[in-house]
Symmetry: C2
Subunit: 347 residues, 2 copies
């Protein structure tokens, strides 16, 4: 008669469909509401009743339906979305890790999606996440122009931008001190006596890259050095092009005596190009990386895990009701000297 017993009277444990609370209640011989109370440890449930309900739930292998609960409780999930580049890039995975750890402390779960550095896909992903009713959305944006998020932001889904500032929109952001870090790198090379310094940068249209270029140029201008100008290479977007570009730079006459690469990918390419070189130029790379100590690579380091953590923290504050103006957290950088950046300029 009840849905929880099959026709032959045996309890239908193997039912394909997952049991509902109604079935548990029927098996325990109580009402739906009482079963709900028992399983949620609400007050005013007789001890014996509670036991019967729990036994029935165990027997059926009952598992609460979080979707239904969320719908009833307010149509918003415990999920926080992250849209970033591919996780095989250690920068993104470090950020994701920091986010995940922080969220977990607040009972929130991270949902990740890869925008493939494509603005169109990114928009679609934002839409998908919003339909899923994520509690907050963290984005390492691929493109510019985030006006389309403006309405959403005002409707209670907080956005936090990572690594790249929001464009056309007020929103929380966690950024790296790109200008300062790059300036420090430039100064470091100047101090080692370098004048002909090559700058190998990624797509200049991306704000962090532009910041790093600016910072480097600032250092050069402060030192009254123009020797870098012939060696500026931007829009180098992948490891192989970086390797090739560095090789080409080294064949110039006169060749640069030092290199500054503005992200981990480019640094990797440069290291490949420099491998086995008899008299390698000095090298400083933006972004720290695994084994940089073993290789002896001088870098502009920053704490990417902390970036993720801060972003998650900002989001959590919004989720918890904070509604002040947009905030920006800046992650500091520091030059870590490991050898490659201290090679003197060939005399």
């Amino acid at each position: 008669m009840t849905a929880s017993r099959s026709a032959d009277g045996a309890v239908d444990v193997a039912a394909l469909r997952r049991p509902t609370l109604t079935q548990v209640a029927a098996l325990a011989g109580v009402s739906l509401k009482t079963a709900s109370r028992a399983l949620n440890d609400e007050p005013n449930v007789a001890e014996a009743t509670g036991r019967r309900v729990r036994e029935a739930a165990d027997l059926l292998g009952y598992r609460l339906n979080g979707i239904a609960r969320e719908l009833r409780r307010g149509a918003t999930s415990a999920l926080v979305g992250l849209i970033s580049g591919d996780l095989t890039n250690p920068f993104y995975s470090a950020v994701a890790s920091g986010i995940e750890r922080e969220l977990r402390q607040h009972g929130l779960q991270l949902v990740t999606a890869n925008n493939d550095e494509d603005a169109e896909l990114e928009r679609a992903l934002v839409d998908a996440f919003l339909e899923r009713r994520v509690r907050a959305l963290l984005v390492v944006p691929s493109g510019a122009g985030h006006e389309y998020l403006a309405i959403e932001g005002n409707r209670g889904v907080p956005f936090v931008f990572l690594d790249r500032p929001p464009d056309g929109l007020e929103a929380d952001a966690v950024l790296i001190d790109n200008v300062g870090g790059a300036r420090a790198a430039g100064e470091h090379l100047i101090a080692a006596g370098h004048r002909r310094i090559a700058l190998v940068a990624d797509l200049a249209r991306m704000a962090p890259q532009q910041g790093r270029i600016d910072g480097f140029v600032q250092a050069m201008e402060a030192a009254g050095n123009d020797g870098w100008r012939p060696y500026l290479r931007t829009d180098v977007h992948d490891v192989h092009r970086a390797e090739r570009t560095v090789r080409e730079l080294l064949e110039l006459d006169p060749a640069p005596t030092a290199l500054f690469t503005t992200n981990n990918r480019l640094t990797t390419g440069a290291l490949r190009a420099l491998r086995g070189h008899p008299q390698p130029p000095a090298l400083i790379g933006f972004d720290d990386f695994d084994l940089a100590d073993v290789i002896g690579a001088t870098v502009v380091a920053h704490d990417s895990v902390a970036m993720g953590r801060e972003a998650a923290r900002l989001a959590h504050q919004r989720i918890s009701g904070f509604s002040g103006p947009a905030r920006t957290v800046t992650i500091s950088t520091s030059v870590i000297a490991r050898g490659s950046g201290e090679r003197p300029a060939a005399s």
Copy 2:
């Protein structure tokens, strides 16, 4: 009168609460169902009606409530869960990346959680994911004993195990050819003339580690070599202990002439210990890593992104209705010679 207009008659765009389909319908002057039909491009909606509904939706900034839809449509989400170790470990992030790419092709989204290599937390995460009604659950298990998943597995939530086989449970799995890879590493070192070979391994209770130990031992026994026995070090679980262990090994007399490290963490530690060593021993590490080419590190490589992809594929087949017996996909390995593994035994 309708909920979508505020008391003063203006359309209430700035309402804090996100608009529901009912409000859109009211604003468009049609029934709830008709609005639903219009926005879902169902047939039998007059062109003019459809337009009115879409305009109303735009005006209100309406966004479908995926939670409600999922509840109605079958109480199962488009999410697939991944439980693994920390994403800062490139192995896990590569796996996650492979999974994410594959899932996206099928309109599924990846939800990640870090088990901190803790079996208790892992169980809790599994519970949380099941309550969230994920469509499938991919696990890189931390501990042994997965019997508690048996009921779930039979209830339509497919499980796929990565890297470590399910214990006490029939389930799909994607594993690495640990034995074969380690045997090849052992043979490689033997072929270079080594006899005193140190094996530095992680926790031996973890199946992949045990497999790598076994494979190595097989190679030694096939070569009739016992020279490794004094240099076996297991249960080395972090980078620092690996570094220390390798230093200690090198101070032995006689010292081993070669090292085999059984995962990327241990290889990192070994590389640190070997740095600047006048006459470093040969080194082969299990797991390929970024910049291994620059460092010249010989490794037993395998395609971790493919691992993720295969796991996602298995899961997707189950989601799509496949219900055959449990399958195991094995990811092959290959030794990539880059120098460190080819250093000859000191005569």
